[in-house]
Subunit: 420 residues, 2 copies
Amino acid sequence: METQQPVRLRVFSLNCWGIRYLSRHCEQRFEMIADMLERERHDIVLLQEVWSEQDFLSLKRKLSVTHPYSHHFKSGVIGSGLAFFSKYTLQNTLLHQYSLNGYPYKVRHGDWFGGKAVGLAVLDVTGLRVHVYITHLHAEYCRSHDEYLAHRTAQAWELQQFVHHTSRGAALVVLGGDLNMHPQDLGTRLVQALTGLRDCYTEAQVFDGCEDGITLIADNPFTKREDLIPFEKGIRIDYIMFKGSESLSVQCESLSTTKGSVPGHPFPYSDHEALTAELVLFHSEGSNMPVSEGLAILTEAQMVVREQRFQTESMLGKSAHLLAVGVALLLLTLALWAVPWICPGALVSLLSVLCLTAFLSGVLLYLLFLTQLKALRETDQQMSLSSNHMQERFTRCRAALSASDEAVISHSPSPFKWEE
Amino acid sequence: METQQPVRLRVFSLNCWGIRYLSRHCEQRFEMIADMLERERHDIVLLQEVWSEQDFLSLKRKLSVTHPYSHHFKSGVIGSGLAFFSKYTLQNTLLHQYSLNGYPYKVRHGDWFGGKAVGLAVLDVTGLRVHVYITHLHAEYCRSHDEYLAHRTAQAWELQQFVHHTSRGAALVVLGGDLNMHPQDLGTRLVQALTGLRDCYTEAQVFDGCEDGITLIADNPFTKREDLIPFEKGIRIDYIMFKGSESLSVQCESLSTTKGSVPGHPFPYSDHEALTAELVLFHSEGSNMPVSEGLAILTEAQMVVREQRFQTESMLGKSAHLLAVGVALLLLTLALWAVPWICPGALVSLLSVLCLTAFLSGVLLYLLFLTQLKALRETDQQMSLSSNHMQERFTRCRAALSASDEAVISHSPSPFKWEE
């Protein structure tokens, strides 16, 4: 930082619900978003679900003067949907696609095709190195029976690993996006506890927005109330988080959300509410972020991942069976082709189609579950390693403390830190 | 570093050619490798092509005393093949799978199924933070007509991006593995120029090994001489690279390679030669690694990636055609099913199978090429961004220099550094 004056940074995040031809009023909403962004001139803009390249390019054109730096992160079949705009110089970007992201055969859910990822943008903000992370995790389609819980938890793990390993040397870290997790959900706690990132909603000195900071509100005309049950008013799943560094302390002065309707327009910007956080950056001499609860959360996350491992192993077995059925049918069909008078042609046709379908589905599902099993086992082992390392450090810290003063332990927060 | 005494670090790297049932003498060779590793007691061991979990676990058991820390990185259908062993405490690991890695329908080449990746292992070496990277890039099957050049170059780009973004705060960075690239190949130059990593072969004070440091030698009984043409003696594609930091300067005291045969055994460890580097670490007050050539190499790499973009776009068009043919055949088959007397049953069966095959292949190939196109475009744009940033810094540096002293520029190396 070249001056000792505090720097102010306004960060904006919105899930735009930008599925062309499927999301209602998509084109008009993107125009409204572009107008608002051009008028508001936030320093950093983090958009999710900008699925169409054309929509990104329109935004880019419109914001070329106010936000000369931008990036559209590309991954998967459709894209990651992540778009980034900034007033400040963008120095470098990096993309990490999550190794687990639902299933391709869940075509209606479609997350798999999106190639969910976390994008990093490295910015130069008046001489400060600022790392901005933007992400969108797998959606939760049914809270009472959430078949994607383990995938989302593994994504949260990868997200914190990515932030942990790439944020060294950053004066300020900002993470924004649609986590698809409530504040008390395992994945949210995992990310916060292990990275030390602080949630703008809980940290803001002033908050102006929907009750409890909810970002998916029942009053939104694009939202089906029944999808939110049992949360009558809505849920909070979009976040802006931040952390400073030894040389820079950060305060969140204010956080605001949109509140559904947009004055002068017949509908809101999106089915999600937008977040705007105002961060103030001061020079500092170091800040401590005790995360003693990290170990317990990590253990909980590892159990979720392990359970999914067992389920995926069973699915792998089932796809092997399907493959075997395909092979058996194939042999039968070949036999019927060889002696055509046994069986009418139409039945042979039907059998051919059946055996080919069973065989191909078997192969593809087998490959899919094998890949997912590898990723789950990798996550599990990374978690074990971190957990052991944390345990060891924790034990060492406690030993050092008890040697010096037993009484202090019970009355002071643990000095144990994951970030070292 | 707790003492001012130099620390010595012996690093070992070997592509083990460990494809069970396909690689010759696989089991016996893994036994030989385990015996040698247990005897030699290198500090850090980096193995590639340990495809089978069982082989990894045998190694782990055998090395449990000499190398208590280990990790087998898992990704893709078969795995990444990357295995890591260390004497020193392993604190954390991270895996990044490359977004481009060949094609699933090239079953004989098989790289796609391997989920090629770069693994990071964070070590505590007597109080020093050491980042060890292990990788294996896509193989080159035909040098004169290398259809994987762009994929390998994109992997080299992702490798340097990953090292660049995750190595901050490391006292020492070590990269080892099978890059499948010759020393003068674009990707090797890209990695070295942009990360500042130095090649042990060119840096070693003492070298003992095969002529020109080759690691795939014609004399190896597992190698087909004709695969090496026009390189009569062999090629160098395996590397150990390193770089120090501001607080630590590093020298490579020696590098050695195995030379084909192993005394007392009828065959060598692998079809690759093994590398052993001895690094010496001293406290220092900062070292400079000018990489003024980085920009030119980056531009060259970007051209390769762009050309592949155009090719992939054309392949995408072709798969759309295949899909259209599939749909047309489907309609025809349905029509024939509706009026069965027009056409014999066997022909309808054949048509059913054909249309289903064309349709499914069309869909899968379309998804594949669309995903690859996204990844290529992401790489291209990341490269543009870095290139602009480097260009800008370079211009600024030159302007500063010419303001102070024109004469110095022409006689001294450029002070421009990518790592900032």
